[in-house]
Symmetry: C2
Protein backbone atom coordinates (compact mmCIF):
# COMPACT_ATOMS: atom_id res chain seq x y z
CA UNK A 1 0.00 0.00 0.00
CA UNK A 2 1.41 3.34 -1.06
CA UNK A 3 1.25 5.91 1.73
CA UNK A 4 2.16 9.51 2.53
CA UNK A 5 4.81 9.72 5.22
CA UNK A 6 3.47 11.55 8.28
CA UNK A 7 5.64 14.48 9.28
CA UNK A 8 5.60 16.21 12.67
CA UNK A 9 3.20 18.66 11.01
CA UNK A 10 0.77 16.15 9.51
CA UNK A 11 0.88 13.36 12.08
CA UNK A 12 -2.62 13.13 13.55
CA UNK A 13 -2.17 13.24 17.31
CA UNK A 14 -5.71 13.66 18.49
CA UNK A 15 -7.67 10.41 17.93
CA UNK A 16 -4.94 8.83 15.74
CA UNK A 17 -7.24 5.92 14.92
CA UNK A 18 -9.08 8.34 12.64
CA UNK A 19 -5.96 9.04 10.58
CA UNK A 20 -5.58 7.98 6.96
CA UNK A 21 -2.25 8.25 5.14
CA UNK A 22 -2.65 5.75 2.33
CA UNK A 23 -2.68 7.41 -1.04
CA UNK A 24 -5.73 5.60 -2.40
CA UNK A 25 -7.80 6.72 0.60
CA UNK A 26 -6.60 10.31 0.34
CA UNK A 27 -7.18 10.40 -3.43
CA UNK A 28 -10.72 9.08 -3.04
CA UNK A 29 -11.60 11.98 -0.72
CA UNK A 30 -9.93 14.57 -2.97
CA UNK A 31 -11.69 13.17 -6.04
CA UNK A 32 -15.12 13.30 -4.41
CA UNK A 33 -14.80 16.94 -3.33
CA UNK A 34 -14.52 20.00 -5.55
CA UNK A 35 -14.02 22.91 -3.12
CA UNK A 36 -10.96 23.25 -0.93
CA UNK A 37 -10.40 25.82 1.77
CA UNK A 38 -7.04 27.39 1.14
CA UNK A 39 -5.21 28.95 4.07
CA UNK A 40 -2.32 31.40 3.86
CA UNK A 41 -1.01 34.18 6.07
CA UNK A 42 -0.31 37.82 5.20
CA UNK A 43 1.48 39.86 7.87
CA UNK A 44 0.70 37.16 10.42
CA UNK A 45 -3.04 37.21 9.70
CA UNK A 46 -4.34 33.91 8.33
CA UNK A 47 -6.91 33.98 5.54
CA UNK A 48 -9.04 31.01 4.47
CA UNK A 49 -10.60 31.16 1.02
CA UNK A 50 -12.83 28.58 -0.67
CA UNK A 51 -11.77 27.66 -4.18
CA UNK A 52 -12.34 24.99 -6.83
CA UNK A 53 -9.62 22.40 -7.31
CA UNK A 54 -8.93 19.11 -9.03
CA UNK A 55 -6.33 16.41 -8.52
CA UNK A 56 -4.04 15.15 -11.25
CA UNK A 57 -1.76 12.39 -10.03
CA UNK A 58 0.12 13.78 -7.05
CA UNK A 59 -0.77 17.43 -7.67
CA UNK A 60 -3.75 19.62 -6.78
CA UNK A 61 -4.51 22.28 -9.34
CA UNK A 62 -6.33 25.48 -8.47
CA UNK A 63 -7.08 28.50 -10.58
CA UNK A 64 -8.47 31.97 -10.35
CA UNK A 65 -8.30 35.47 -11.63
CA UNK A 66 -4.89 36.94 -12.23
CA UNK A 67 -6.34 40.08 -10.61
CA UNK A 68 -7.02 38.25 -7.36
CA UNK A 69 -4.96 39.38 -4.40
CA UNK A 70 -5.24 35.90 -2.94
CA UNK A 71 -3.96 34.12 -5.99
CA UNK A 72 -1.14 36.60 -6.50
CA UNK A 73 -0.02 36.10 -2.90
CA UNK A 74 -0.08 32.35 -3.33
CA UNK A 75 1.83 32.51 -6.59
CA UNK A 76 4.74 33.99 -4.66
CA UNK A 77 5.30 30.56 -3.15
CA UNK A 78 4.15 31.25 0.40
CA UNK A 79 3.29 28.37 2.69
CA UNK A 80 -0.29 27.20 2.32
CA UNK A 81 -2.70 24.64 3.68
CA UNK A 82 -5.43 23.21 1.46
CA UNK A 83 -8.21 21.40 3.31
CA UNK A 84 -11.00 19.38 1.71
CA UNK A 85 -13.91 18.31 3.91
CA UNK A 86 -16.77 15.97 3.06
CA UNK A 87 -19.60 15.86 5.59
CA UNK A 88 -21.25 12.47 5.87
CA UNK A 89 -23.58 12.48 8.86
CA UNK A 90 -24.72 13.99 12.13
CA UNK A 91 -23.84 11.67 15.01
CA UNK A 92 -26.52 12.02 17.68
CA UNK A 93 -25.51 10.56 21.01
CA UNK A 94 -27.27 10.31 24.35
CA UNK A 95 -25.08 13.01 25.88
CA UNK A 96 -24.04 16.35 24.41
CA UNK A 97 -20.40 15.38 24.95
CA UNK A 98 -20.54 12.41 22.58
CA UNK A 99 -22.31 14.20 19.74
CA UNK A 100 -20.12 14.29 16.69
CA UNK A 101 -20.00 14.51 12.93
CA UNK A 102 -19.09 11.78 10.47
CA UNK A 103 -16.74 13.35 7.97
CA UNK A 104 -13.73 12.77 5.76
CA UNK A 105 -11.14 15.52 5.47
CA UNK A 106 -7.75 15.91 3.83
CA UNK A 107 -5.11 18.45 4.81
CA UNK A 108 -2.29 19.27 2.37
CA UNK A 109 0.63 21.43 3.50
CA UNK A 110 3.23 23.00 1.26
CA UNK A 111 4.03 25.85 -1.06
CA UNK A 112 1.94 26.50 -4.13
CA UNK A 113 3.78 26.71 -7.43
CA UNK A 114 2.73 29.07 -10.20
CA UNK A 115 2.03 27.04 -13.33
CA UNK A 116 3.47 28.99 -16.23
CA UNK A 117 4.20 26.51 -19.02
CA UNK A 118 1.39 26.79 -21.57
CA UNK A 119 0.89 23.04 -21.95
CA UNK A 120 0.64 22.42 -18.21
CA UNK A 121 -1.63 25.43 -17.79
CA UNK A 122 -4.06 24.12 -20.38
CA UNK A 123 -3.93 20.63 -18.93
CA UNK A 124 -4.62 22.01 -15.44
CA UNK A 125 -7.61 24.01 -16.65
CA UNK A 126 -8.91 20.97 -18.52
CA UNK A 127 -8.51 18.87 -15.37
CA UNK A 128 -10.41 21.34 -13.19
CA UNK A 129 -13.21 21.79 -15.75
CA UNK A 130 -13.66 18.07 -16.35
CA UNK A 131 -13.47 17.30 -12.63
CA UNK A 132 -16.69 19.27 -12.20
CA UNK A 133 -18.37 18.06 -15.43
CA UNK A 134 -16.89 15.05 -17.25
CA UNK A 135 -15.85 15.84 -20.82
CA UNK A 136 -17.01 19.43 -20.53
CA UNK A 137 -13.71 20.80 -21.81
CA UNK A 138 -14.16 18.86 -25.05
CA UNK A 139 -17.58 20.49 -25.65
CA UNK A 140 -16.27 24.04 -25.31
CA UNK A 141 -14.28 26.29 -27.59
CA UNK A 142 -10.62 26.52 -26.55
CA UNK A 143 -9.75 29.42 -24.24
CA UNK A 144 -8.44 32.45 -26.08
CA UNK A 145 -5.23 34.40 -25.42
CA UNK A 146 -6.88 37.05 -23.31
CA UNK A 147 -8.68 34.50 -21.11
CA UNK A 148 -5.45 32.60 -20.54
CA UNK A 149 -3.64 35.81 -19.69
CA UNK A 150 -6.30 36.65 -17.08
CA UNK A 151 -6.17 33.21 -15.47
CA UNK A 152 -3.68 32.23 -12.83
CA UNK A 153 -3.04 28.53 -12.28
CA UNK A 154 -1.44 27.10 -9.15
CA UNK A 155 -0.16 23.62 -8.36
CA UNK A 156 0.25 22.15 -4.89
CA UNK A 157 2.17 18.90 -4.65
CA UNK A 158 0.70 16.10 -2.57
CA UNK A 159 3.74 15.55 -0.40
CA UNK A 160 2.85 16.53 3.15
CA UNK A 161 -0.65 15.11 3.42
CA UNK A 162 -2.94 13.56 5.99
CA UNK A 163 -6.58 12.64 6.15
CA UNK A 164 -8.94 12.18 9.06
CA UNK A 165 -12.12 10.14 8.90
CA UNK A 166 -14.90 9.46 11.38
CA UNK A 167 -17.45 6.78 10.55
CA UNK A 168 -20.07 4.81 12.40
CA UNK A 169 -22.53 5.24 15.23
CA UNK A 170 -22.15 7.31 18.40
CA UNK A 171 -20.11 5.83 21.22
CA UNK A 172 -22.02 6.56 24.40
CA UNK A 173 -21.16 6.06 28.03
CA UNK A 174 -22.55 2.68 29.05
CA UNK A 175 -24.99 4.09 31.62
CA UNK A 176 -26.49 6.52 29.08
CA UNK A 177 -27.86 3.71 26.92
CA UNK A 178 -30.61 3.33 29.52
CA UNK A 179 -31.91 6.81 28.78
CA UNK A 180 -34.88 7.30 26.44
CA UNK A 181 -32.90 9.40 23.96
CA UNK A 182 -32.46 8.44 20.32
CA UNK A 183 -28.91 7.56 19.31
CA UNK A 184 -27.61 7.03 15.80
CA UNK A 185 -26.57 8.79 12.64
CA UNK A 186 -28.52 11.08 10.34
CA UNK A 187 -26.75 10.92 6.95
CA UNK A 188 -25.94 14.11 5.06
CA UNK A 189 -26.18 13.90 1.28
CA UNK A 190 -25.13 16.34 -1.41
CA UNK A 191 -27.55 16.19 -4.32
CA UNK A 192 -28.07 17.94 -7.63
CA UNK A 193 -31.27 19.82 -8.35
CA UNK A 194 -32.93 20.02 -11.76
CA UNK A 195 -30.80 22.07 -14.20
CA UNK A 196 -32.01 25.64 -14.79
CA UNK A 197 -31.33 26.79 -18.35
CA UNK A 198 -30.37 30.44 -18.69
CA UNK A 199 -32.90 31.31 -21.37
CA UNK A 200 -30.46 31.52 -24.24
CA UNK A 201 -29.91 27.82 -24.81
CA UNK A 202 -30.35 26.84 -28.44
CA UNK A 203 -33.16 24.43 -29.38
CA UNK A 204 -32.48 20.74 -28.73
CA UNK A 205 -29.41 21.44 -26.60
CA UNK A 206 -29.71 19.38 -23.41
CA UNK A 207 -27.95 19.91 -20.07
CA UNK A 208 -25.19 17.44 -19.16
CA UNK A 209 -26.55 14.22 -17.64
CA UNK A 210 -26.37 14.30 -13.82
CA UNK A 211 -23.94 11.37 -13.92
CA UNK A 212 -21.41 13.67 -15.59
CA UNK A 213 -21.35 16.09 -12.67
CA UNK A 214 -19.00 15.64 -9.72
CA UNK A 215 -21.84 15.29 -7.21
CA UNK A 216 -23.97 13.07 -9.46
CA UNK A 217 -21.20 10.70 -10.36
CA UNK A 218 -20.19 10.16 -6.73
CA UNK A 219 -19.84 6.41 -6.74
CA UNK A 220 -18.93 5.33 -3.26
CA UNK A 221 -21.85 5.87 -0.91
CA UNK A 222 -20.10 7.23 2.14
CA UNK A 223 -20.42 5.04 5.19
CA UNK A 224 -22.58 7.10 7.52
CA UNK B 1 -29.47 48.57 7.84
CA UNK B 2 -26.84 47.44 10.31
CA UNK B 3 -23.54 46.59 8.64
CA UNK B 4 -20.00 45.45 9.41
CA UNK B 5 -17.44 48.09 8.56
CA UNK B 6 -15.06 46.85 5.86
CA UNK B 7 -11.42 47.10 6.91
CA UNK B 8 -8.43 46.97 4.56
CA UNK B 9 -8.33 43.26 5.40
CA UNK B 10 -11.99 42.45 4.76
CA UNK B 11 -12.82 44.81 1.94
CA UNK B 12 -13.69 42.65 -1.06
CA UNK B 13 -11.54 43.95 -3.93
CA UNK B 14 -12.06 41.29 -6.53
CA UNK B 15 -15.64 41.51 -7.93
CA UNK B 16 -16.84 43.92 -5.21
CA UNK B 17 -20.43 43.63 -6.45
CA UNK B 18 -20.43 40.18 -4.83
CA UNK B 19 -19.64 41.62 -1.39
CA UNK B 20 -22.09 41.56 1.51
CA UNK B 21 -21.45 43.47 4.71
CA UNK B 22 -24.94 43.84 6.16
CA UNK B 23 -25.33 41.94 9.40
CA UNK B 24 -28.62 40.26 8.51
CA UNK B 25 -27.12 38.85 5.31
CA UNK B 26 -24.00 37.62 7.11
CA UNK B 27 -26.03 36.11 9.96
CA UNK B 28 -28.26 34.23 7.51
CA UNK B 29 -25.23 32.52 5.96
CA UNK B 30 -23.69 31.70 9.34
CA UNK B 31 -26.99 30.32 10.63
CA UNK B 32 -27.47 28.04 7.63
CA UNK B 33 -23.99 26.49 7.90
CA UNK B 34 -22.62 24.35 10.68
CA UNK B 35 -18.98 23.70 9.72
CA UNK B 36 -16.40 26.44 9.52
CA UNK B 37 -12.85 26.13 8.26
CA UNK B 38 -10.62 27.65 10.89
CA UNK B 39 -7.23 28.96 9.79
CA UNK B 40 -4.28 29.72 12.05
CA UNK B 41 -0.52 29.73 11.63
CA UNK B 42 2.14 27.94 13.68
CA UNK B 43 5.76 28.86 12.93
CA UNK B 44 4.63 30.50 9.69
CA UNK B 45 2.80 27.39 8.43
CA UNK B 46 -0.96 27.92 8.04
CA UNK B 47 -3.33 25.15 9.09
CA UNK B 48 -6.99 24.94 8.11
CA UNK B 49 -9.20 22.70 10.23
CA UNK B 50 -12.93 22.01 9.83
CA UNK B 51 -14.94 22.41 13.01
CA UNK B 52 -18.54 22.78 14.18
CA UNK B 53 -19.67 26.25 15.22
CA UNK B 54 -22.78 28.22 16.08
CA UNK B 55 -23.57 31.91 16.21
CA UNK B 56 -24.95 33.66 19.25
CA UNK B 57 -25.57 37.34 18.61
CA UNK B 58 -22.27 38.80 17.47
CA UNK B 59 -20.13 35.84 18.53
CA UNK B 60 -19.21 32.52 16.92
CA UNK B 61 -18.71 29.70 19.39
CA UNK B 62 -16.56 26.69 18.63
CA UNK B 63 -15.58 23.79 20.83
CA UNK B 64 -13.34 20.80 20.89
CA UNK B 65 -11.22 18.55 22.98
CA UNK B 66 -9.01 20.16 25.58
CA UNK B 67 -6.38 17.68 24.39
CA UNK B 68 -6.45 19.09 20.85
CA UNK B 69 -3.29 20.85 19.73
CA UNK B 70 -5.36 23.04 17.44
CA UNK B 71 -7.71 24.21 20.12
CA UNK B 72 -4.92 24.83 22.60
CA UNK B 73 -3.08 26.95 20.06
CA UNK B 74 -6.21 28.95 19.36
CA UNK B 75 -6.92 29.44 23.04
CA UNK B 76 -3.66 31.36 23.28
CA UNK B 77 -5.32 34.18 21.37
CA UNK B 78 -3.51 33.86 18.06
CA UNK B 79 -4.94 35.47 14.96
CA UNK B 80 -7.47 33.29 13.19
CA UNK B 81 -9.73 33.28 10.18
CA UNK B 82 -13.03 31.38 10.27
CA UNK B 83 -14.62 30.79 6.88
CA UNK B 84 -18.10 29.37 6.27
CA UNK B 85 -18.99 28.34 2.73
CA UNK B 86 -22.38 27.25 1.37
CA UNK B 87 -22.35 25.82 -2.13
CA UNK B 88 -25.49 26.58 -4.12
CA UNK B 89 -24.93 25.60 -7.73
CA UNK B 90 -22.62 24.74 -10.60
CA UNK B 91 -22.63 27.54 -13.17
CA UNK B 92 -22.12 26.01 -16.60
CA UNK B 93 -21.16 28.54 -19.24
CA UNK B 94 -20.42 28.25 -22.93
CA UNK B 95 -16.69 28.79 -22.40
CA UNK B 96 -14.44 27.25 -19.76
CA UNK B 97 -13.46 30.75 -18.66
CA UNK B 98 -16.97 31.72 -17.57
CA UNK B 99 -17.71 28.54 -15.63
CA UNK B 100 -18.28 29.36 -11.99
CA UNK B 101 -19.91 28.30 -8.76
CA UNK B 102 -22.86 29.89 -7.04
CA UNK B 103 -21.94 30.11 -3.38
CA UNK B 104 -22.28 32.16 -0.23
CA UNK B 105 -19.27 32.51 2.04
CA UNK B 106 -18.42 34.46 5.19
CA UNK B 107 -14.91 35.29 6.37
CA UNK B 108 -14.34 36.32 10.00
CA UNK B 109 -10.96 37.64 11.10
CA UNK B 110 -9.80 38.13 14.66
CA UNK B 111 -8.43 36.49 17.74
CA UNK B 112 -10.29 33.67 19.42
CA UNK B 113 -11.02 34.06 23.11
CA UNK B 114 -10.99 31.11 25.52
CA UNK B 115 -14.39 30.92 27.19
CA UNK B 116 -13.75 30.11 30.82
CA UNK B 117 -16.75 31.37 32.83
CA UNK B 118 -18.92 28.32 33.62
CA UNK B 119 -22.20 30.01 32.65
CA UNK B 120 -20.93 31.18 29.27
CA UNK B 121 -19.31 27.82 28.63
CA UNK B 122 -22.59 26.01 29.23
CA UNK B 123 -24.49 28.50 27.13
CA UNK B 124 -21.99 28.13 24.29
CA UNK B 125 -22.25 24.33 24.35
CA UNK B 126 -26.03 24.58 24.42
CA UNK B 127 -25.94 26.95 21.45
CA UNK B 128 -23.72 24.66 19.37
CA UNK B 129 -25.76 21.54 20.23
CA UNK B 130 -29.10 23.18 19.49
CA UNK B 131 -27.79 24.78 16.30
CA UNK B 132 -27.35 21.27 14.89
CA UNK B 133 -30.56 19.81 16.40
CA UNK B 134 -33.17 22.18 17.82
CA UNK B 135 -33.91 21.56 21.50
CA UNK B 136 -31.47 18.66 21.65
CA UNK B 137 -29.73 20.08 24.72
CA UNK B 138 -33.01 19.97 26.64
CA UNK B 139 -33.42 16.23 25.89
CA UNK B 140 -30.01 15.29 27.22
CA UNK B 141 -28.60 14.90 30.71
CA UNK B 142 -26.46 17.87 31.71
CA UNK B 143 -22.72 17.50 31.04
CA UNK B 144 -20.77 16.26 34.02
CA UNK B 145 -17.67 17.79 35.59
CA UNK B 146 -15.23 15.56 33.75
CA UNK B 147 -16.82 16.25 30.37
CA UNK B 148 -16.70 19.97 30.96
CA UNK B 149 -13.08 19.75 32.03
CA UNK B 150 -12.22 17.93 28.80
CA UNK B 151 -14.00 20.47 26.59
CA UNK B 152 -12.45 23.65 25.38
CA UNK B 153 -14.76 26.44 24.24
CA UNK B 154 -13.68 29.35 22.06
CA UNK B 155 -15.44 32.56 21.10
CA UNK B 156 -14.69 34.65 18.03
CA UNK B 157 -16.32 38.07 17.90
CA UNK B 158 -18.04 39.12 14.69
CA UNK B 159 -16.16 42.37 14.23
CA UNK B 160 -14.02 42.09 11.13
CA UNK B 161 -16.38 40.29 8.79
CA UNK B 162 -17.23 40.10 5.13
CA UNK B 163 -19.33 37.86 2.94
CA UNK B 164 -19.19 37.10 -0.73
CA UNK B 165 -22.12 35.79 -2.73
CA UNK B 166 -22.53 34.70 -6.34
CA UNK B 167 -26.04 34.04 -7.64
CA UNK B 168 -27.69 33.70 -11.00
CA UNK B 169 -26.95 32.33 -14.45
CA UNK B 170 -23.64 32.29 -16.31
CA UNK B 171 -22.53 35.47 -18.02
CA UNK B 172 -21.18 34.46 -21.40
CA UNK B 173 -19.43 36.41 -24.10
CA UNK B 174 -22.07 37.56 -26.54
CA UNK B 175 -20.70 35.58 -29.49
CA UNK B 176 -20.69 32.33 -27.48
CA UNK B 177 -24.49 32.30 -27.15
CA UNK B 178 -24.59 31.11 -30.75
CA UNK B 179 -22.79 27.88 -29.84
CA UNK B 180 -24.77 24.69 -29.25
CA UNK B 181 -23.58 24.33 -25.65
CA UNK B 182 -25.95 24.21 -22.69
CA UNK B 183 -25.71 27.20 -20.34
CA UNK B 184 -27.33 27.54 -16.95
CA UNK B 185 -27.11 26.45 -13.33
CA UNK B 186 -27.28 23.01 -11.77
CA UNK B 187 -28.35 23.54 -8.15
CA UNK B 188 -26.50 21.81 -5.31
CA UNK B 189 -28.64 20.72 -2.37
CA UNK B 190 -27.68 19.39 1.03
CA UNK B 191 -30.20 16.82 2.19
CA UNK B 192 -30.70 14.51 5.15
CA UNK B 193 -30.88 10.77 4.67
CA UNK B 194 -33.09 8.44 6.71
CA UNK B 195 -31.86 8.22 10.33
CA UNK B 196 -29.89 5.06 11.18
CA UNK B 197 -30.48 3.98 14.80
CA UNK B 198 -27.45 2.53 16.54
CA UNK B 199 -29.13 -0.67 17.74
CA UNK B 200 -29.41 0.32 21.38
CA UNK B 201 -32.32 2.73 21.11
CA UNK B 202 -35.06 1.96 23.64
CA UNK B 203 -38.53 0.96 22.35
CA UNK B 204 -40.77 3.77 21.16
CA UNK B 205 -37.94 6.32 21.08
CA UNK B 206 -38.06 8.15 17.75
CA UNK B 207 -35.29 10.12 16.00
CA UNK B 208 -35.63 13.90 15.94
CA UNK B 209 -37.90 15.11 13.15
CA UNK B 210 -35.87 16.25 10.10
CA UNK B 211 -37.20 19.77 10.59
CA UNK B 212 -35.25 19.93 13.85
CA UNK B 213 -31.90 19.39 12.12
CA UNK B 214 -29.86 22.25 10.73
CA UNK B 215 -30.03 20.94 7.17
CA UNK B 216 -33.70 19.98 7.36
CA UNK B 217 -34.84 23.26 8.82
CA UNK B 218 -33.08 25.31 6.17
CA UNK B 219 -35.83 27.74 5.32
CA UNK B 220 -34.59 29.96 2.59
CA UNK B 221 -34.16 28.00 -0.61
CA UNK B 222 -30.91 29.38 -1.91
CA UNK B 223 -31.25 31.28 -5.16
CA UNK B 224 -29.38 29.10 -7.62
Amino acid sequence: MSTYTPTPRTKVRRLPKRAVYDKAGVHAILDEGFICHLGFAVDGQPYVIPTLYARSGEVLYMHGSGASRTLKTLAEGVQVCATVTLMDGFVLARSAFHHSLNYRSVVVLGRARLVSKPAERLEALRTITNHVVSQRWEELRPPNELELKQTLVLALALEEVSAKVRVGPPVDDEEDYASPVWGGVVPIHTRLGAPIADGRVLPDVEPPAPSRLIVGRKRTAATP
